[in-house]
């Protein structure tokens, strides 16, 4: 195999396809990076939709004035955290199109930034879950005063604590699995390329 001969033939090879403006509009998603970007976009729309639904909840429920205030406070805090998270995500999303650094830097930058964003995403899920539980507790204590204390009186503190602990574990497991299913497996493919570059 003569590489010099091959080089001459390689250099003489021409491309037949002409690149037209139409090709700039074709939507493809075949790189893990692109798929992650697409999922980030979807995630944003789901979150906005979820928050919009949540905003109207007090109008269709019979909350007392105290519960309504607590709900609005929880909703505002959720919106604040979500906005912060998506602002970070958006900055990363925009910067991810610059792939003009060397391969290792480009891919490694994407890998670690994405990992960081996944951790932020998990943190946001925990925060929202915590806010939801807090609101649930307020709702039970304020609105369900007639029978909840009776139910709680019949349960042992160990049972209640165990339930809380298991609930936290389930939320944690779901968050981890969701992050892996949604982003993690694509990130693994990106890491594989970095490992191949680093392998000596």
């Amino acid at each position: 195999m003569n590489f010099d001969d091959l080089k001459n033939e390689w250099n003489a090879e021409e491309a037949e396809t002409n690149i037209s403006a139409d090709m700039l509009k074709i939507k493809q998603a075949h790189t893990p990076i692109d798929i992650i970007r697409k999922k980030m976009k979807h995630e944003f729309f789901y979150q906005v939709f979820f928050l919009a639904i949540m905003a109207f909840l007090p109008t269709v429920t019979a909350f007392s004035a105290t519960t309504k205030m607590a709900y609005l406070a929880c909703f505002a805090i959720t919106c604040g955290f979500t906005a912060y998270y998506f602002f970070k995500f958006y900055k990363f999303y925009k910067n991810s199109y610059d792939m003009s650094m060397d391969s290792r830097k480009s891919i490694l930058w994407f890998y670690y930034e994405m990992k960081l964003n996944i951790e932020l995403y998990k943190a946001l899920t925990y925060i929202v879950a915590f806010i939801s539980v807090t609101f649930g507790a307020i709702y039970i204590l304020v609105e369900q005063t007639s029978y909840i204390p009776k139910i709680l009186a019949n349960l042992s503190p160990v049972y209640i604590l165990l339930n809380c602990f298991i609930s936290i574990l389930i939320i944690g497991a779901i968050t981890e699995l969701w992050a892996w299913y949604y982003y993690g497996k694509y990130l693994k493919r990106v890491k594989k390329v970095v490992d191949e570059l680093d392998y000596e």
Binding site: M1, L24, S100, S103
Partner: protein
């Protein structure tokens, strides 16, 4: 916007052979090659606002195109072409040049993504230093990796009963 698009199209068409070759190096059937070609064009267009002109357009293009190909994966439902190297290619004296390249493109399918990048940059007449700069590895590592990849490629070609 239209003017930017036209400038971009004119520049990219001057260097389209780069994308064409990368697509053929990284994908082994025409449909996948076409998909990768389009993917690279689209990535270049989306990344174009980040091109500040500090380097040559072709240098910038090499990097974006290669980085896209490195993390690209083919559609899962598409079959992998497992035709042996010594089949499915017409042995015709007048088409000897195309034949050699066809064998090369088939042989490189057995290399991993980084090895393909090394061979691509080598065939593009890039020095060890340039290869190292493009891939973000040390010059020594680039030389070692390239030599190993060339040997591996020789073996693949030999194993499949074709020598050139």
């Amino acid at each position: 916007m239209k003017e930017t698009e036209n400038i971009f199209l004119s520049m990219i068409n001057q260097h389209k052979a780069i994308i064409h070759k990368i697509a053929k190096m990284y994908m082994n059937n025409t449909d996948d090659q076409q998909d990768l070609f389009q993917e690279i064009v689209m990535q270049l267009w989306k990344a174009y606002p980040t091109f500040k002109g500090n380097s040559k357009f072709s240098t910038w293009m090499y990097r974006v195109a290669l980085n896209t190909a490195l993390v690209y994966f083919k559609k899962d439902n598409r079959k992998v072409d497992k035709t042996p190297l010594n089949e499915n290619i017409d042995i015709n004296e007048s088409e000897l040049k195309e034949e050699k390249l066809s064998y090369l493109y088939k042989a490189v399918q057995e290399l991993n993504a980084v090895e393909k990048a090394l061979i691509f940059l080598f065939l593009e007449n890039q020095s060890h230093r340039e290869i190292a700069e493009n891939l973000g590895i040390s010059e020594v590592n680039a030389r070692v990796k390239l030599n190993r990849t060339k040997e591996k490629l020789q073996l693949i070609v030999k194993k499949n009963g074709y020598e050139f």
